[in-house]
Symmetry: C2
Subunit: 116 residues, 2 copies
DNA sequence: AATTCATTTTAGTTTCATCTAAATTACAGC
DNA sequence: GCTGTAATTTAGATGAAACTAAAATGAATT
């Protein structure tokens, strides 16, 4: 583990990319399309950073370049990242479920005795 | 593990501090004294960042404030950091030993046949 | 209450990362 | 060759992080 790796995963944007290519490989264009808030160029730069840190590998194929995560580089940290993503998902699902199943009046805060 | 933790350990300066207080607690002034290339103020700011990330705890005592690492916050990543530091030490020691025990002419690169 | 020591905080500057828009490269099909 | 698609690269703008110097805080000592 070197500095470059820690610096790479410190960026939310790069973690977002890393998560996309964690289990499957994806073309650069599809990665960029999954992030409508930035330009293709910006994504390409981050892909380069990830590649230089050894966190992704690139496979050129025809006009496309397919990226996928190189999990081994992260060692134990891979598990931490996965947990981080799972926890975030879990929180989202929980929030959605609470919202969907809620009936009746809005949840109350702890009750206080009315002032005289 | 949240973003704040990853962001905190992405900084070499904060890692340097974290390493100092990894096994023992240290007064802020002593930490700053161990880093002659920056001011006390700068170190204090980084200590605050580490504290906000939950990576150190502070114990006031008289005029001093003693900081120590809160390793639990790092979970598995703690091991990765330790390995990182050990590896760096190992490399330094190896280099020092090579330098100290070297005798005779400087080490040669792989021999090539002389050109005719 | 004034002084000293240890530390934090503030305000301003520099440095660095990230982004955009546009130019450029690379590859394939016509 | 030219055209179109996929991606990278460049140059420049913007914002955040890290630093410094100086001022402010807090706790002990006189």
């Amino acid at each position: 583990m070197e500095h470059a790796v820690l610096a790479a995963i410190a960026s939310p944007r790069r973690r977002e990319i890393l998560r996309l290519v964690w289990n499957r490989e994806m073309a650069a264009g599809d990665i960029a399309a999954a992030m409508p808030d930035v330009t293709f160029g910006a994504v390409s730069l981050q892909l380069r950073a990830l590649q230089e840190a050894g966190l992704v590998v690139c496979r050129p194929d025809q006009k496309n370049r397919f990226y996928k995560a190189k999990r081994a580089t992260l060692g134990l940290v891979a598990k931490s990242l996965e947990r981080m993503w799972d926890d975030a998902l879990w929180r989202l699902k929980l929030a959605a479920q609470l919202e969907a199943t809620r009936r009746g009046p809005a949840p109350r805060r702890k009750h206080h005795k009315p002032q005289k």
